[in-house]
């Protein structure tokens, strides 16, 4: 308990002792301090610090050196490094200062727990400066009298400390102010430089850990001068066309320093400098004549200087100056060549003489004109023709022959040596052999093997091949001992046609040509392939050759790549000369995708895809199937026809049964007399022979209804039903629907009832359709109501009209109406018929009314035709109203005139069929 209070008291005192004002100055009084204070330590050295406690703190705070702990930053220093020297001093030792950091603090543990800082120091760790090395100096001339000496050195390793470098220099009896580098530590410039005194120069590096000096450099500054380049350089032309004189001024007087010079020059436009031999300019001077220059050539000159004895540095090159030499005679004649055009006539040449302008070093001046001389060697008597030309070509019209052309170029000084070109009548001499090319960087080398005979010169023609324009020929002449040249200006990826002609003393050899590329690339596009013909298992592909601009190289081959949608790609390589290829073994009715690739030595390019579908059937397969099928069909039809023809009776029996002719029945003998007033023409006239082509006959035993089967009676029921429900179509009586037509029934329900009431009444009807052949088609719808049965046994011969007439008392229910063929499906006719049918229906209504009222017929407000029909009906009614009630059930429009309509209901005799009312 006591100890605890004691420690608290100590802590309190410690705080008070730290915070209480000093008696003397009123400042904070520390309980101790560290020595050394803020040391600068060499990296890697050992270091010991002492923390010394004040006696006052010992007395009042019970603080002793044994309680001291050392810290680097906030890290505790291991106690192994502590040593308690006495009760107020504790030391700490570091064997390697590289482990040190700042601050290093001395602390105590008050009451064994509370840590209190006593003192702290800043520790700086670094390296002493290294000896500066590689000291060198250069004196730059800045003006005529001003020189600045700049010295540089290697400052050595980084010291981690503030290190000062200073350049020091002195004379034998005088030391000068130091040169302090600004912003750098490896160079300094001394402005006040004095020549001809040995100057000792050295560098001194100093920091907190020491000082180092470089090795001294003893030098006379005059020996390390880099002078300014000569100024005011001027060039004057000499008397000779190959000499120019160069003059300049030096910045340094000879008294100070004698100089030597370098002079360089180049032709304007060239980048290659030439230099005057140094020994020629190794002495002090201010001018120099440069010889061996080209006439009329512009040169660029530059000069530099340095101390004559070679000590020091070369100056920079002076400003470039240009000068031009004077003209001289052209040194050689222009190279000349010809292009002969014989397109007009083989015997009449158009000779294009072309020559190259002389190069500047050959022309030696401005070429004023060319003097051209043409001599016909075929005819010695022919005069020599001379031309003065200012251009570099001339066209002549010459007859076929041998000519000698001479060309001279002339400038202001004089003419050139002549150039001679022999134009022989034919190039009959031996050509060059083994013409070949080889790319060499940006040049194309052309080589050949000389012919056996001596060749004066070779002419090499070349031109850039183009698909759109003519070959623009370039050419060059080389001497006969040359067997290869480099063509310049050749563009890569372009095709050139190169031709070499040997020129002999007495003629010219034929040209040998070769195509060449300087550099090849893959084609710029691929061929566009398409099909020429597609079959079941093969397809013929065609394509166009790539243009020479698109090829970019020699096309080595074409590659066809084709595949189905889901199949593997098939590759076919094709010779580059071909433009067509047939793909075989294809699958029928299959979509193929094909593309084509053109390849050069440097790559390939593929053209666009093209798709095609192979055919389902091969050539002739369809014909092989269709023709037999057609033949079989025709055979079957033919057999059917023959069969029908052979079985026509049987067919007729089933389809077209024989209907007994009522007119030939026995009952015809008692047919009522035909009213006399009926204007009935003969049956032939009424129904011309053949107009009744089909007759249906149903025989009904009227009296013995039961004798008919139910089957036979159904049509009657149906008929009755149709009439009662709708405008039923009468299909004839007795099911003779074969030739019946969909006619509206003209009977109404009342009529049906009437018919029904007269149970013995049997309806017969016959529909007669087309006329036969060229006869007028007559449609007859005959209806008969009779209670009389038709008996086969009563059929009679057709000529019984008279008989009929002779029995007028007997009721006749026979009516005939001409009409159109009801099978005629022509719509107008059908419509017309229908209208008429409607009209007749109305008429019938009126007719019924008329019949009831006993009055004459009245117009029913229909059209003219209706009225006409009505009139006809009226006539009929007028005829029939005497004795019996006539119930016209169907009134058909009759194409015949009203007058031609049958006016009576006499039994009709037809050639076939037909029936008569009983």
């Amino acid at each position: 308990m006591f100890s605890r209070w004691n420690w608290v008291a100590c802590g309190f005192y410690l705080v008070l002792s730290i915070c209480s004002p000093d008696a003397s100055g009123g400042l904070v009084q520390s309980c101790g301090h560290i020595i050394p204070e803020s040391p600068v330590l060499a990296l890697g050295s050992n270091f010991t610090a002492l923390c010394i406690l004040n006696e006052s703190c010992l007395d009042f705070g019970n603080i002793y050196a044994s309680q001291i702990i050392w810290k680097i930053k906030n890290r505790l220093v291991p106690k192994e490094q502590y040593r308690e020297i006495n009760r107020t001093v504790s030391s700490v030792t570091f064997n390697d200062t590289s482990s040190l950091a700042t601050p290093l603090t001395c602390n105590i543990l008050a009451d064994g727990q509370i840590e209190q800082n006593i003192y702290g120091i800043t520790v700086t760790v670094g390296l002493p400066p290294e000896k500066p090395k590689n000291l060198s100096c250069i004196v730059h001339q800045e003006s005529r009298f001003t020189y600045a000496m700049t010295c540089t050195w290697n400052p050595g390793r980084h010291t981690f400390l503030d290190t000062q470098f200073r350049l020091r220099y002195r004379w034998p009896e005088q030391i000068f102010p130091d040169c302090i580098p600004k912003d750098v530590n490896n160079s300094c410039t001394i402005d006040d430089t004095q020549f001809f005194v040995n100057t000792e120069i050295w560098v001194e590096a100093t920091n907190a850990l020491g000082k180092a000096e470089s090795d001294p450099l003893v030098v006379d500054p005059i020996d390390i001068v880099k002078p300014l380049p000569p100024q005011n350089v001027s060039i004057t032309s000499g008397l000779l066309p190959t000499v120019l004189q160069l003059c300049w001024e030096n910045w340094i007087s000879d008294a100070v320093m004698t100089l030597k010079f370098n002079i360089r020059y180049r032709i304007v436009g060239s980048t290659n400098w030439m230099e005057v031999p140094p020994e020629d300019t190794a002495s002090p001077r201010t001018s120099f004549s440069i010889q061996g220059l080209r006439p009329y050539t512009e040169y660029v000159f530059s000069i530099r200087c340095m101390k004559e004895d070679g000590a020091g540095y070369w100056s920079d090159w002076s400003e470039e100056k240009t000068g031009i030499t004077i003209e001289d005679q052209p040194s050689k004649g222009p190279p000349i060549w010809r292009i002969i055009d014989t397109s007009q006539s083989p015997a009449c040449w158009t000779v294009h003489l072309i020559w190259k302008a002389l190069k500047p070093h050959e022309a030696n001046g401005v070429i004023l004109q060319y003097e051209l001389t043409v001599r016909d060697k075929s005819s010695l008597s022919s005069p020599v023709k001379k031309y003065n030309v200012t251009s570099t070509n001339h066209t002549l019209q010459l007859r076929e022959g041998t000519y000698e052309v001479t060309l001279i170029a002339r400038n202001s000084v004089g003419p050139s040596p002549p150039s001679v070109l022999l134009i022989p009548a034919s190039n009959s001499k031996a050509p060059v052999k083994n013409l070949r090319t080889l790319p060499k960087h940006d040049k194309l080398w052309v080589g050949w093997t000389a012919p056996n005979n001596y060749v004066l010169k070779y002419v090499i023609e070349w031109c850039l091949m183009s698909s759109s324009s003519d070959c623009n020929i370039e050419w060059q002449i080389v001497l006969g001992d040359v067997q290869g040249i480099d063509l310049k200006g050749i563009k890569p990826f372009k095709c050139y046609l190169i031709t070499v002609y040997p020129l002999y003393a007495d003629g010219q050899g034929s040209g040998q040509s070769v195509k060449a590329y300087l550099k090849q690339d893959r084609p710029s596009k691929g061929p566009t392939v398409q099909t020429k013909k597609v079959g079941k298992a093969e397809a013929v592909l065609t394509w166009n050759h790539l243009t020479v601009e698109e090829q970019n190289g020699f096309i080595r081959n074409y590659t066809i790549l084709y595949k189905t949608i889901d199949g593997n790609e098939t590759v076919v390589t094709v010779d580059p000369s071909k433009t067509e290829y047939t793909l075989s073994s294809l699958t029928s009715d299959t979509l193929y995708t094909v593309r084509m690739m053109a390849s050069t030595d440097n790559g390939s390019r593929t053209g666009p895809d093209f798709t095609f579908t192979t055919q389902k059937f091969g050539k002739g397969e369809i014909e092989a199937i269709v023709v037999p099928v057609c033949l079989a069909f025709l055979l079957i039809v033919l057999l059917g026809v023959l069969f029908c023809f052979n079985k026509r009776d049987l067919i007729k029996k089933h389809i077209w049964p024989i209907v007994p002719d009522p007119s030939k029945s026995n009952i015809a003998q008692w047919s009522p007399q035909v009213p006399a007033k009926h204007n009935i023409s003969s049956k032939d006239q009424m129904y011309p022979e053949g107009s009744f082509t089909d007759v249906s006959v149903v025989e009904i035993e009227a009296d013995d209804k039961k004798s008919f089967s139910e089957q036979d009676l159904k049509p009657f029921d149906l008929l009755k039903k149709e009439k009662s429900t709708s405008e039923g179509h009468s299909s004839g009586i007795g099911g003779s629907s074969c030739m019946s037509s969909p006619r509206q029934s003209v009977s109404d329900s009342d009529e049906g009832e009437t018919t029904q009431n007269t149970s013995s009444t049997v309806q017969y009807s016959t529909v007669v359709l087309n006329g036969y052949r060229d006869q007028t088609p007559v449609q007859v719808f005959s209806r008969s109501e009779s209670t009389q049965p038709l008996l086969d046994s009563e059929e009679r011969s057709e000529d019984h009209a008279g008989g009929a007439d002779s029995t007028p008392q007997r009721q006749q229910y026979f009516r005939q109406n001409g009409g159109q063929d009801e099978t005629n499906t022509d719509r107008p006719c059908f419509d017309k018929t229908k209208q008429i049918t409607h009209a007749n229906e109305g008429d019938l209504v009126g007719f019924v009314q008329l019949q009831i009222s006993g009055q004459s017929s009245q117009p029913l407000g229909l059209g003219m035709e209706k009225n006409t029909q009505e009139a006809a009906v009226s006539n009929v009614l007028q005829t029939c109203t005497e004795g019996q009630t006539v119930r016209p059930e169907t009134v058909e429009e009759n194409p015949l005139s009203v007058d031609e309509m049958p006016k009576s209901y006499l039994p009709q005799t037809v050639r076939q069929g037909g029936y008569m009312p009983q």
Partner: protein
């Protein structure tokens, strides 16, 4: 060391004191390592440079002072009335004697040129070329003194030379300053030529 006396020499050269004996204390030559064999040639070149530039310097000086110095230079710049070290040596004189005479001459010239330069910086501050030439000439004489010191010490063990300087121009009028400078430079042109001629056989590379 021997450096201090020569520094003192140079400092004293600036003082407008005429006639002052300088003592070269110590037994060794200053910066013995710098006294190499080329010092002789350097000395000759320095004299040659001064000789080559003296006339131009004088002409430029006259030009920059304006009238009446431009037109009346013979009268105004007559050096008869001023002190100038006697240079009574010729090509046959002993080398040592020549060296001592040279030292006395260029010590005087160095001090006088310093005065002239200071005066011209005040009177003709815009005369850059003149000032530049004066600076260079002064520097050359300074280097020449350094080399002569080296030669005297090294070759003849002479550590002490009596030197007399000219009158100081300080406090004089501008005209007097110009005239004094003109008189010194004119005499300088005459003497430097003679010195160059005398020195040539003595300092030629052997």
């Amino acid at each position: 060391t021997g450096v201090v006396p020569f520094v003192a020499l140079l400092l004293l050269q600036r003082r407008p004191v005429a006639g002052r004996a300088l003592l070269l204390s110590g037994s060794g030559c200053p910066s013995h390592g710098l006294c190499r064999s080329n010092v002789q040639e350097q000395t000759r070149r320095q004299v040659a440079v001064l000789n080559a530039t003296a006339q131009e310097l004088f002409s430029l000086y006259l030009k920059c002072q304006g009238e009446p110095f431009s037109s009346e230079s013979d009268k105004l710049c007559n050096p008869a009335g001023i002190f100038f070290p006697a240079f009574r040596v010729n090509r046959t004189s002993e080398r040592k004697e020549v060296m001592v005479a040279m030292y006395k001459l260029f010590a005087f010239l160095n001090a006088s040129l310093g005065n002239i330069t200071r005066d011209q910086e005040e009177l003709n501050p815009m005369a850059k070329e003149l000032l530049e030439r004066l600076h260079n000439t002064t520097k050359t004489t300074r280097g020449l003194i350094s080399n002569l010191t080296c030669l005297l010490c090294k070759n003849y063990n002479i550590f002490q030379v009596d030197v007399r300087y000219g009158d100081s121009s300080k406090g004089k009028s501008a005209f007097k300053k110009k005239q004094q400078g003109c008189q010194v430079l004119r005499k300088y042109v005459q003497v430097i030529g003679q010195a160059a001629r005398v020195l040539l056989p003595h300092l030629s590379p052997s």
